[in-house]
Symmetry: C2
Subunit: 209 residues, 2 copies
DNA sequence: GAGAGTACGTACCGTCGGTATGTACCCGAA
DNA sequence: TTCGGGTACATACCGACGGTACGTACTCTC
């Protein structure tokens, strides 16, 4: 049941996260004070500490919102493609787009790891963009009958996810983002083509065990 | 000329960086207070602010030290190999080792970007480990007469550097780091083998322009 | 309509980064 | 020899910020 109090509460909380996301994006985590957030949301610190346990908690709320936006964009773009390689191409483009968003770069990539800590950051990551990359990597690498165990699939996913994150970051700061994105697409495409070559040649992934 | 004053000064500064590196590694940047650093070095804040302009400056000193250690390790390991592919293999192993060091993970990977800011972080990076990865990528990719322009080489470098950083981080937190490192080596080796395949087949890198 | 819980507001505290100022010491010039 | 000046710190203090304690108005339920 939605009572008026609940609606007021929800809107206050939402306004706080709105302002927090904006200020965190513009100034970074440490340079954003709680006073500035509550002033922007036209409330006081009492309201903030009623809804969140502290600064880290409201950051995490903004973090999750930004992550879920990025995830939605990639899912939407990669859906509708049946062929795994086409799906990967479309997902790659969407990923490169998402990672250029200022909020994503500042909150998720830059401040995320240090504010949330490694393990918590990893947790958040693994149920959003990382999971999507994992799905795409799985569908691409298992095409053609490769049998990779879960550990090896996860290793490939980490590698590709790291590659895409770094590449996306460089795209975002490039003076010509469109050209940089095109280069990244070409390079990633070339690497994937190499994997396809091996696949067609019947080369096995070496067993590290 | 080295006077006694200069020696005293150098040792005080060195002690401050020693303690700072340790505390930053253990607790992270924000959770490490300047009071704790100066207490650990048995001096006062006056001494710290005489040698450094502030908290960020002493962090950067620790950052540079950790980076140069990592760089030295990789250079040492990859030296002595003539064949680019062998050089890459050796460099990869050394990189995976370096990136597992707690100081490197916390100070360089986790806190580095948010504390120094993107551009400053990038500057520091590009004259240390990134430069080495770039050299190796260049020597590997230009073998056999490929002609890639600088932009494309840099794109490949960013991709591999990001891949290796992420992979190294996952190795560090794995419950069996040795096995995880072996998986990463296998996966990277497989990707490079794919590139070799394309190289032998005479496939051109698509021109994104 | 009265008690209880919610959704805040207000006032305050401890910590921390940074600064201003003082001081002991060393070193080169007169 | 001494004496001015610069170096290498120490001491005292400030303002900002994260967090807490407590008060209060409003609302929902019984």
């Amino acid at each position: 049941m939605k009572t008026r109090r609940h609606r007021y509460s929800a809107s206050t909380k939402g306004a706080l996260v709105d302002v927090a996301e904006q200020l965190f994006t513009e100034n970074g985590y440490t340079a954003t004070s709680l006073d500035a957030i509550v002033a922007g949301a036209d409330v006081t610190k009492g309201a903030l500490y009623h809804h969140f346990s502290g600064k880290q908690a409201i950051f995490e709320a903004a973090f999750e919102r930004v992550e879920s936006r990025a995830t939605a964009g990639i899912v939407e773009a990669s859906a509708g493609h049946r062929d795994p390689w086409e799906k990967a191409q479309a997902g790659l483009r969407a990923f490169l787009d998402a990672v250029q968003e200022p909020a994503y770069r500042q909150i998720v990539i830059s401040d995320g790891p240090s504010v949330l800590g490694h393990e918590r950051f990893r947790e958040q990551e693994e149920r959003s963009t990382y999971a999507i990359v994992g799905e795409i990597v799985r569908s691409v690498l298992t095409t053609g009958g490769w049998d990779l165990d879960e550990d090896m699939l996860d290793t490939f996913t980490r590698i590709f996810f790291g590659a895409l994150s770094a590449a996306g970051g460089s795209v975002a700061v490039d003076e010509d983002p469109a050209a940089a994105a095109a280069r990244v697409e070409a390079a990633i495409g070339f690497i994937m083509a190499g994997l396809q070559q091996l696949l067609e040649a019947g080369v096995e992934v070496p067993d590290p065990a």
